[in-house]
Structures are given as C-alpha cells and as structure tokens.
C-alpha cells in the first residue's frame, strides 16, 4: 500500500471503514474473508456481476492485471451461466489471448459455494464481499448495480453502455457525483479511451492539426449478433433475459449497445455532446419472432452546439458494407480512420502503427487495479459513460419517433423502460401479441420523450 488516497484512508482501511459505515451486518463477511487469507494485507477482493461471455473475459483481465487480486464472489441471473464461467476460469489449463501457454488461475480464485449467487438480487451480496466489482450484465441493470456499488463504497469496473433510458442515465450521473465525492475509482469499458492509437489520434485532433472539426462520421455496420430462441417451459421473463439483445429494457437497441463506442469517439473528439438529432431506422431483415422489438438499422444526424454534424450509421444486416470506424473532417484536413490524419493535399500528418500496442481491454484493468492497489483515486469514467450512453439513446429516440429530438428533452424524459418488478414470474415491460410478435416502434407515431 504505497499511497493514501485524499480522504486519508488507505484501501485496506477503506474496506473496513465502508463496512462500519454500512453497518454491522456487512462487517462480518468482510472480517471473515480477510481472515481467510494468510496475510490479509494488500489483497484486492474482486466480485463479478454478470458471468456471460464479456463478464468472463473481464474477470480474466482483472485477474491478469498484475496486482494481488482474488475473485471472491460471483453472480448471474442464471446459475448455468455462472457455472459455465466458473468452470472455464478454474480450468487448470486455462488459455486466452495473452499467452500461447496455458495458465492456472486457481490461486487467484476463491469463490466458495455460498459466495455464488443467482437471481435478481445476488449483486448486493457480491458487492458486500468485494473491494472492486466488475459489472458486465446487460445494460438495463447497470444503473441499479452501479448505485449499489457506490453506496457500499466499492471501486467499479463496468461495461458500456451504462443505461438504456433517460432515467437510467440521470441515475448514473447522480451516482457518478457520489463516486467522485467518495473518491472511488470508476472505469467504464469504452476501451478506446485506453487504446493508444485513439489516444494519440484524438490528442492530435484536439491540438487542431486539421483545424475545426466540421463533420464527423461514425459507423458500426456489421452482420449482427446471436439470437437465443424461446425454449419450452420458459416464463416470458426468463425468455427475454436469455434473449436480451432484442429487448430495449435490457439492451437499449444496438445503437446503444454497440454503436455507443463510435458515438463516444465522436463526442471525445468534439469535446461535447450533441444538442439534437434526427434520423431514420427500421427493421428490414431482422424481423422475426425471436428478434424482439429492436431495429436492424439506424442512420442518425447529430448536431453539436457549434453547428457541426456527426453522421452515424449502425446496421445489423448480413451481406452489406461492413464498417466499424470513425472519421473526421476539419477545416484544414481530414482524419479518415483511427491513427491517420491527412492535410487537404493528402500529406500524412499521422500514420500510426498500432501493431505492437497493448490490448486496451487489458490496459483498462491494469490501470484500475494498480490505482486501487496504490490507494490512488484516478478514474472517473461514469460521467462520460453516461453522456455517451445518452447520445446513443438520443439517436434511438430520433429514429423511433422520426422527429428532431433535443438533447435537453431527451435527457429529461421520464419514460422508463424498466419493469415494475424483477422476478421470474413477473411480467417484463413488453409482451408478445397473440402471434408471438412484439410491438415495433413506428416513426411518426411512437412517442419517445
């Protein structure tokens, strides 16, 4: 423990203090788990909330951060997801991208049966048991999980997006302030911020090498993602939770769930968020029963306060032009792709070779856990994450409604997508019609704010 953070307590004390703050019910498990380790000194206890593919990837990166990290608790709405994840990471011959050799992560994993939780409330228990929580559930849950983590004084790594609706975004912005006050590190998985080629590129653009940015173009056009068809015996809640990508209360549509990365780069370069948007979208190809309610394409024109435009395309349709990238046009030149900057005459001002750069997904964990280990307060990503999320939601509101939507109206919208109750037998907020289809937004009719 090298440094103390500004509140005057180091991390280890902080864990104890947070237990005291939250009351005796929480103190007990902290003491028990501290005693469970030989020295109990600078070990960082990490908990995983959401054990799917990305959660598994993220926890392995946390364990690979080079700090004295131990995974102590896990939860997932579905026990089988948790078990699969646990089995993978405890395989003594585990292998991942980082090495051609297998490695044994077991010395860094200590998750007894009683620290594995399923259902909708397990996250609270995982947070109690941890110093740092890794949150990788579908984004609809993010605001409540983040709120609880900060309430319990824990450092956070959370995946993007950080919400699916305006009330969720406002909640995250509010909690972000709280996290700042408490000097809790928060890293959001918008990993381009931790990727050297983007850092160098955006820095050059901020320095004005191509003048003022007048047009931004951002893309996530791809073939789309998995579909998990309805299984016999599933309640409606279970079906939607399994096939979550296609329901807005869980996913927010792909403009939010994926395209947020590129919209975020657009905001980063402009050092602002858009003030309004209009757009076109629909379901041309992906329109079956198992495709829920989301669109398969959106084309949005975002306007910034200086009048400049960000043109945004995202599409999930096979066999079309695929492109996941960002490009910027300035008064004195252009930046056609990450790492490349050209003058008007085509002279290369920048041609960045990123071949040997570190993996940004790993970097974000290395930095977060180093900060926690050193008792430093360095990362406050939640506010930017919330604004990037809101940008994507603004785009969705524009394509769903067919109207020009103002940022101020959008972020202050009281339309909540969340269900009234989280339980396997509760109704989700959208239900299929008699033929098994869900209501689809209709531009010109659908109200979004």
């Amino acid at each position: 423990m090298k440094n103390q953070n500004n509140s005057g307590i180091n991390r280890r004390d902080f864990v104890k203090t947070s237990g005291l703050v939250a009351g005796s019910m929480m103190l007990a498990p902290n003491l028990v788990s501290a005693k469970a380790h030989i020295d109990g000194s600078d070990e960082i206890k990490v908990g995983l909330i959401g054990c799917g593919g990305r959660g598994t990837g993220a926890i392995v990166q946390a364990l690979g951060s080079g700090q004295n990290v131990k995974l102590v608790a896990m939860c997932d709405a579905f026990r089988d997801n948790l078990d699969k994840c646990y089995k993978r990471i405890t395989d003594p011959n585990f292998s991942d991208w980082s090495s051609d050799e297998t490695k044994d992560l077991n010395p860094m994993i200590d998750v007894p049966e009683e620290h594995k939780f399923d259902g909708f409330d397990g996250y609270k228990k995982v947070i109690e048991l941890s110093d740092v929580v890794v949150i990788a559930t579908p984004p609809g849950f993010r605001p409540q999980h983040f709120e609880e983590a900060i309430k319990q004084n824990k450092h956070v790594f959370m995946e993007k997006p950080v919400a699916v609706d305006a009330p969720g975004v406002r909640k995250v912005l509010e909690v972000a302030k709280e996290a700042k006050k408490k000097k809790l590190n928060v890293v959001v998985g918008l990993q381009r911020h931790y990727q050297k080629v983007y850092q160098e590129w955006v820095d050059m653009l901020h320095n004005g090498v191509i003048g003022d940015i007048v047009l931004s173009r951002v893309y996530w056009n791809s073939a789309g993602v998995w579909v998990r068809p309805r299984q016999e015996g599933q309640t409606e809640m279970e079906y939607q939770m399994r096939n979550w990508y296609y329901f807005n209360w869980l996913c927010g549509d792909h403009i939010t769930e994926q395209h947020i990365h590129n919209l975020d780069v657009g905001n980063w370069v402009k050092q602002a968020h858009p003030v309004r948007a209009n757009g076109i979208g629909g379901r041309e190809v992906r329109n079956g029963k198992d495709h829920g309610e989301i669109f398969d394409h959106h084309f949005v024109e975002f306007e910034y306060a200086d009048g400049s435009i960000m043109s945004s395309q995202c599409r999930h349709i096979k066999g079309c032009m695929n492109r996941v990238s960002e490009a910027f046009h300035g008064t004195n030149g252009s930046a056609p792709k990450p790492g490349v900057i050209l003058t008007k005459s085509g002279y290369k001002l920048m041609d960045y070779n990123s071949k040997n750069d570190p993996n940004p997904y790993q970097v974000e964990h290395d930095l977060l856990f180093a900060a926690v280990a050193n008792g430093e307060y360095k990362f406050a990503d939640a506010e930017n994450g919330a604004k990037a999320t809101m940008t994507s939601i603004l785009g969705r509101m524009a394509t769903y409604s067919g109207q020009v939507v103002e940022w101020e109206d959008a972020i202050n919208s009281n339309i909540s997508l969340a269900p009234e109750k989280y339980a396997w037998d509760a109704n989700p907020p959208v239900l299929p019609d008699a033929n098994g289809y869900y209501a689809i937004p209709v531009p010109g009719i659908t109200k979004v704010v």
């Binding site: 593919g53 990305r54 598994t56 990837g57 991208w97 056009n221 993602v225 032009m321 993996n359």
Partner: protein
C-alpha cells in the same frame, strides 16, 4: 462437378491450351515455347485444372505440381535470414495439386453461409445442417478491404481446416492445407534463392503485395505476377496457414526424427504456435522470402473481449488466409478419417 484441365507450360498463357477431362493429366501438351527459366533448372510443365464448387457458380483453379526433392530452409548467408529457417535439409514431397490462388471469400462464403450451400446434383442426401460453420464474427473479418475476388482472411486454422473438410465432403476429393514442406516446395518452384525470382528484392513489387506497396490492405488474388509454376501470391497479399505446429528448431527435428519420411510434417499437439507462410500486405519486405516462417499467436484474438473466444475467427489477423492442396494420390477413407480426427479433434 465441372472440371476443366489445361496445361500451363511454365507461365505461358492459355492460348492453345486444350480443355481436357479430369484425370487426363498426361503429357500431350500443346506446343508452346516456354519462357526463359527465371531461376535455374528446367521448369516442368504444370497442368492446371478448374474446379467448380458443386451446386454453385464458384470456381477455383489448381495446379498439379510434380513430386520432387528440394532443399528446405535458407542458407546462413541469406540476407535477413532468421535462425528458424535452418539448418537447410533435403525434403521429398509427392505430387499434389495446389490452389493457383489463395482461397477467396467467394469460395469461403459458400461454406460460411448455409443458404449458399446447396445440395449437389445426385446428392439428395446432402444435409447442409450437418456441417459446423463459422459463427458470426465479432467484427467484420474483412475490415472493409474487400470480399468478391479477394482472399478470405481472419479465419483460424481450425476454420480453414473445416473448410477443407467441407469441400472434401462436397466434392468427394480430399482437400487439406499444405504441409510447411509442400508450401515451401511450391513457393520455390525449383528456385534456391531468397525469392523464387532471385535474390534481388527490387523485383518483389512485381510479385507481391507487401507493406510498402499494398496501401495497407490486401488485393484481389492473382493481380501480381505468378511464380514459375504459375502460382499467384505465394509471396505477399495474405499469409497462408499450413498444417504444421511451429517449432523454432523444426528442421533439426525433422532431420533427426523424420529423415526418411516423404512429406514430413510436425503434427500439431497444441493450438499455438502453428506455422503461417508467405508474408502479407501487413509485413515488411524482408518477410517475403520463400523460407520465411511466421508463428501463429493467441494474440490474434486479442480484441475479442469475450470468453470463450470464437473457434472460427481471429479479431486481429486480417493478414492471414489460406490455400488448399489436394494430394495427387488420394488417401483411403480410413486415412481421411484419421487425418480429420488428428487435425480437428472429435
């Protein structure tokens, strides 16, 4: 299946070449004066067949290469040589057909997209559902560099081998990836120099898409000059999967343990590293030599943030594709089965 065979005396164009039936690879070659041999030794006549993927409009060409013995690896005197390219050793290979071009997305997509994989004529039993196919990739594997006519890239070796197995099932012929020895034998085409056109790097631009001339992307297959046996893009464009496990001391090992074997290969026992050959649009000039070896790496999946990661796609190897071979002497059904079990597992 529609196959056309013609003969390609060295690099000569097809003028005067007769279309022949499959299997007729005898020597009644049309008269044509061969060009000056670029390297040394007489260039054998290479017959080329055109194959069609059954029940599709997609064609690919294969050259029948003669069997022979060659010196594998590079001499210590070769400029830019790496130590894993030696010691040089004599290796014998049997005759085999080799793809004239790197496998294109046109070909690969017939396998990748179930809807394109129609039942061949006379095969009512064809069950497109019975094949494992590439899962949706995390990102566009082409990175916008092109599909029709362009080399298929970003697939894992597993994925490339599954393609070979599928093509074998669909055609009835046995296709696979080349061994490292077959690959280098085909690339050299009788030459013993750093490149099949000599030691001078200047000519590389006429034969290979490499980092300095590629505009940082791959190009349509066959848009540079071929090697003396008519094979295009052996150097450059995209690197190509081979069957072998990469070992730094592979040649010493083969010399010691497999000296008498024809077409020796180091059978894989682990996922990485395996050997990739030929250099690519993303590699420097010096990596475009017949003897250069590239090792595969788990880092080729670096930007896939999920676990488990795709068996089928790499997120970070848009410079790796493959080329197929078909042994002239086809293995028995039992040998085929044993082969797939060995390279793909069960």
């Amino acid at each position: 299946m529609n196959k056309i065979i013609f003969f390609l005396p060295a690099l000569l164009l097809m003028a005067g070449c007769a279309a022949l039936q499959k299997g007729n690879t005898s020597a009644d070659t049309p008269d044509a004066s061969p060009p000056a041999p670029p390297a040394e030794a007489a260039t054998p006549e290479i017959s080329v067949i055109t194959e069609t993927i059954p029940a599709s409009e997609v064609h690919f060409k294969m050259a029948l290469l003669p069997g022979g013995t060659f010196l594998m690896g590079s001499p210590e005197s070769e400029t830019d040589r790496e130590t894993d390219e030696g010691p040089q050793m004599e290796v014998q290979v049997e005759p085999f057909y080799m793809g004239l071009h790197e496998v294109t997305f046109d070909e690969f997509n017939v396998f990748r997209e179930k809807e394109l994989d129609k039942a061949p004529e006379g095969r009512p039993d064809w069950n497109a559902d019975a094949f494992a196919r590439p899962s949706p990739p995390y990102e566009d594997p082409t990175f916008g560099m092109g599909k029709e006519g362009f080399p298929a890239v970003s697939m894992t070796q597993f994925s490339a081998l599954q393609y070979c197995k599928w093509l074998s099932d669909k055609t009835g012929d046995f296709y696979r990836l080349p061994t490292e020895a077959e690959w280098e034998y085909a690339c050299r085409a009788g030459s013993t120099t750093a490149h099949y056109f000599g030691d001078d790097t200047k000519m590389l631009d006429d034969h290979a898409w490499h980092y300095d001339n590629s505009s940082e992307k791959y190009h349509k297959v066959g848009s540079k000059n071929p090697n003396p046996w008519g094979l295009f893009d052996m150097l450059g464009n995209v690197s190509e999967w081979t069957l072998d496990q990469y070992q730094e001391d592979a040649y010493a090992k083969i010399a010691a343990e497999m000296a008498t074997e024809i077409n020796p290969w180091i059978k894989p026992t682990r996922l990485h590293p395996r050997t990739v050959r030929g250099g690519s649009w993303d590699d420097a000039r010096e990596d475009h030599r017949c003897a250069s070896r590239i090792r595969s790496s788990s880092r080729w999946k670096e930007r896939d943030p999920q676990i488990p990661k795709s068996f089928w796609w790499n997120t970070d190897s848009p410079f790796v594709g493959f080329r197929i071979v078909k042994p002239a002497k086809q293995p028995s059904a039992a040998e085929r089965e044993a082969f797939w079990l060995l390279v793909l597992g069960d």
